[in-house]
Amino acid sequence: MANMAQAIRLALHYGEKHYGVTDIFGEDVGAPQGGVFTCTQGLETAWNTPLDERGIIGTAMGLALAGEKPIAEIQFCDYIFNTIDLLKLAGNTNWASNGQFPMDMVVMTPHGAGIHGSIYHSHSFDAWASRLAGWKIVIPSTPLDAYGLMLSAIQEKNPVMYLIPKALLRTKGTEIIPGEPDEKSLKELIDAPIGDRSEWKAQWPDIQEKLIPIGKSKSTREGKNATIVTYSRHVAMAEKVANKLAAKGLGETRVIDLRTIYPYDWSAISNAIVETGRILFINEDTEITNFAEHLIRRTLEEHYYELKARPRMLAAKHTPGVGLATTLEENTVPQEKDIERELRALLSEAT
C-alpha cells in the first residue's frame, strides 16, 4: 500500500506522462534529494530552484501565463507568507484581466503540526488560503485522496493550492491506487536508494487515472446524532473518537472529510446539519478568523432553527507558534482528547 508521499509522487508522474506537466520545482525538489519529504523523487521534470519563495511562486505564474503546466512546491507552508501578494495576484489575474489570463498552476506545500516541527515547521495555512479568492484549495487525508486530488488539481485550469498534511506523509491508506503494485515492489520501483543516487532512475508502475473531484467531500463515517466536519489529519482522529463514543452508546456521529477548503462542499454540510442537528468543525489552524468560523456563520444564517445544539469549533489556540515540547504542541493543536471532550458535549447538550 502506497504511503501518502508515494501517492503524491505517483500522481505527479501521472501528470507528467498524461497531462503535460512541464515543471515540478522548488527548493530541493529535483535530484538528488527529490523533496525533503521525498514527494518528488525520480520525476522527469523536477528541478531545484534558488532558495527564493517569491521566485518560485512568480516563476510558476510566468510559466502558467506562457501556457506551460507548472507545479511549484514551497518546502513548508511556514515559508509561504512572504509570497502572499503573489498568491493574491495569481488568484486575481484572470478576474482583473476580465477573463483573458487564466492561471493554470498548482502550488503544493506541507501543512500543519504533528511532527514536532517547532515554531516554523508546524504552521497551518488553510484559513489563510481560504481568503485567497480565485484559488481552489484542497487537502487530502489519505493516500488515494492525495493521488486523486493531485490529478484533479493538475487538470484544473485555475490556481490550486494543494496542502499536504505533513504528519500523514508516511501513513498508508486502506484503498489501492489503480495499478499500484504491492508495497515492497512499489518501494523498489520508485523510492530513491540511500546514498549515491547518481545512476538511479525511478521505474514507474502502470498506474491509472483516478480523479477525486475538487469541491466534493466524503463521508467517512455515517451517523444520525451529530456531525464532525474536518479535513487532513483530524479525519482519522475524529473517526476514532466517533467510534469510541458510539461504542459507549453515546451516539452515532457522521464524519465528513471536506477535502476541499474552496469551493467547499456546502451541500454535504448543509444536509448533515439538517439530518443530525448537531455539528462540530475541527481543524488545526489558529482559532481567530479560522475558516470554520465562516462555516459556523453559514450554519447559523441558514440552519439556525434546525440546530439541536449550538455549533462548535475546535481549532488551534491563538498562539504565535506551536511550541516544540510535546506538552506545548499537544496543548496547542487539537488532540483526540479535545475532540472527545467537544463531541461528548455536543452529543449530550439538551435540545
Partner: protein, 359 residues
C-alpha cells in the same frame, strides 16, 4: 524579425509602411522620424486626456508615463508582436501605455479603461488606468504591486528558454519597472533566476529611472551609482542610456533586444527618463519642468526643416481630435453590470462566490 505593425488613425497607411520596414539608420530617415514623432504626440495627448478625465470625474485616478514616450514608442515598435512562445512577452508596469499604443492599440482602449466602462478591453472596468494587458500580443496584466512582474517574468522566459533549446529560436521576455521598485526583492529574483548557470534566460530587464519613488528622491535611498551596475555581480550584460532622446532610446532598446535574441541571455537596461506630471493623481498630476522627449525630437525636426511649427501643431490638433472623439464614444457606453462581480473569478465564468449559492 517581424516588426510591429501600427494601426494609426491619422496617416495610417504611410506610417504603417514606414514603421514596418525600418530604415537602416532610422533617425536619419525623415519619414521614420515624423512617424515616430506622431506616435509620441499621440502618446502624450492620450496621457493628458487621461489626466483631464481623472480630474473631471470622468474617471477616478491617473497614473502613466508622460516623459517616457521616446522609450515606450521605441520598445513598442521593436517588439516581436504576437501570441505564444515564438513572440515576445511583455511584463509592463503602469507607465507603458505608449508601448501598447505603438504596437497598435487605439487610443479609445485606454480611454475606456479610464472611464471604467464595460468595453474596457484590458480589465472590463475593473482596474486602474494604464493597467493594460492583451493576450493576442503576449502583453501580460500590469499590476499595482510594485516590481512583482520581476518575479513573474522568469517564468515566461523559462518557457522561452526551453523553446529555444528545442526549436532553436523563440521570442524573448521583456520586463519593465521603475527605479524605486528595484529595492523590492523581486528585482533580485529576476537577476538571480535569469542568470542560473546552464539555464540563463532570454530576459530583458528594463528600469526606467525617473529619480523618484512617489515623492522620495532615489539618491536618498540607494547607494549604487547606477542601478544597471547591480547586474555585474551576476555576470549579466547591462547598460545605461538616455531615455528622453528618441534616437538614444531606440538604439539602447535595439542593442539590448538584439543581445537577448542573439544569445538567449539576460540583459539589464537602465534608461533615464522624465516624469512630466509627477507620480500620479496623488501628487496632483500637474506639469513639471523636466526635459521633454517630444520637445527634443521636435527640435530635431525643425532643425532639419522636415516640418515647420504650424505643421507640428496640426499633428497635435489631430491627436487631440482623436482623443476627444474617443472620449465621446466612451461616455456613451455602459458601465459593467453590477451582477458580474464574480465573473472570471475562475476560468469557468460561472464559478465563484459562496459555494452552493447562485450568483
Amino acid at each position: 524579425m517581424e516588426k510591429s505593425s501600427v494601426q494609426f488613425k491619422a496617416n495610417s497607411e504611410d506610417i504603417q509602411r514606414v514603421l514596418t520596414n525600418f530604415p537602416t539608420q532610422p533617425f536619419k530617415d525623415k519619414e521614420f522620424v515624423l512617424s515616430f514623432h506622431e506616435l509620441m504626440v499621440r502618446n502624450r495627448v492620450l496621457e493628458e486626456k487621461l489626466i483631464r478625465m481623472a480630474k473631471s470625474q470622468d474617471g477616478f485616478f491617473w497614473i502613466g508615463g508622460p516623459g517616457e514616450e521616446a522609450f515606450n514608442i521605441s520598445l513598442g515598435l521593436q517588439v516581436k508582436k504576437g501570441q505564444g512562445l515564438d513572440f515576445d512577452f511583455l511584463h509592463l508596469h503602469y507607465r507603458n501605455n505608449g508601448c501598447l499604443l505603438a504596437m497598435g492599440s487605439p487610443m479609445i482602449d485606454f480611454i475606456r479603461q479610464m472611464r471604467t466602462v464595460k468595453t474596457d478591453p484590458f480589465s472590463g472596468g475593473r482596474n486602474f488606468t494604464a493597467h493594460v494587458c492583451k493576450k493576442e500580443w503576449n502583453t501580460l496584466p500590469a499590476t499595482s504591486t510594485i516590481e512583482t512582474q520581476f518575479s513573474i517574468a522568469p517564468g515566461t522566459a523559462r518557457a522561452q528558454m526551453r523553446r529555444r533549446k528545442k526549436a532553436g529560436d523563440s521570442g524573448v521576455t521583456i520586463v519593465i519597472g521603475g527605479d524605486a521598485g528595484t529595492a523590492e526583492a523581486d528585482f533580485a529574483t529576476a537577476l538571480i533566476w535569469s542568470s542560473r548557470p546552464q539555464e540563463e534566460l532570454p530576459l530583458l530587464m528594463i528600469v526606467t529611472n525617473n529619480q523618484y519613488g512617489i515623492s522620495t528622491p532615489a539618491r536618498t535611498q540607494h547607494g549604487e551609482k547606477n542601478i544597471a551596475d547591480r547586474a555585474k555581480a551576476y555576470g549579466i550584460q547591462s547598460a545605461t542610456a538616455n531615455g528622453t532622446h528618441a534616437e538614444k532610446a531606440w538604439s539602447a532598446v535595439e542593442t539590448a533586444l538584439d543581445y537577448v535574441r542573439t544569445t538567449g541571455k539576460p540583459y539589464l537596461l537602465e534608461l533615464s527618463v522624465s516624469r512630466l506630471y509627477g507620480h500620479s493623481s496623488s501628487s496632483g498630476a500637474n506639469r513639471i519642468d523636466e526635459e521633454c522627449p517630444i520637445e527634443n525630437i521636435e527640435n530635431k525636426i525643425l532643425k532639419m526643416n522636415w516640418l515647420n511649427k504650424e505643421a507640428i501643431q496640426k499633428i497635435w490638433e489631430s491627436a487631440k481630435q482623436e482623443a476627444n472623439a474617443a472620449q465621446e464614444v466612451a461616455r456613451g457606453e455602459d458601465y459593467p453590470d453590477a451582477n458580474t462581480i464574480y465573473h472570471h473569478s475562475f476560468s469557468n465564468k460561472n464559478e465563484g462566490g459562496l459555494p452552493g449559492r447562485d450568483f
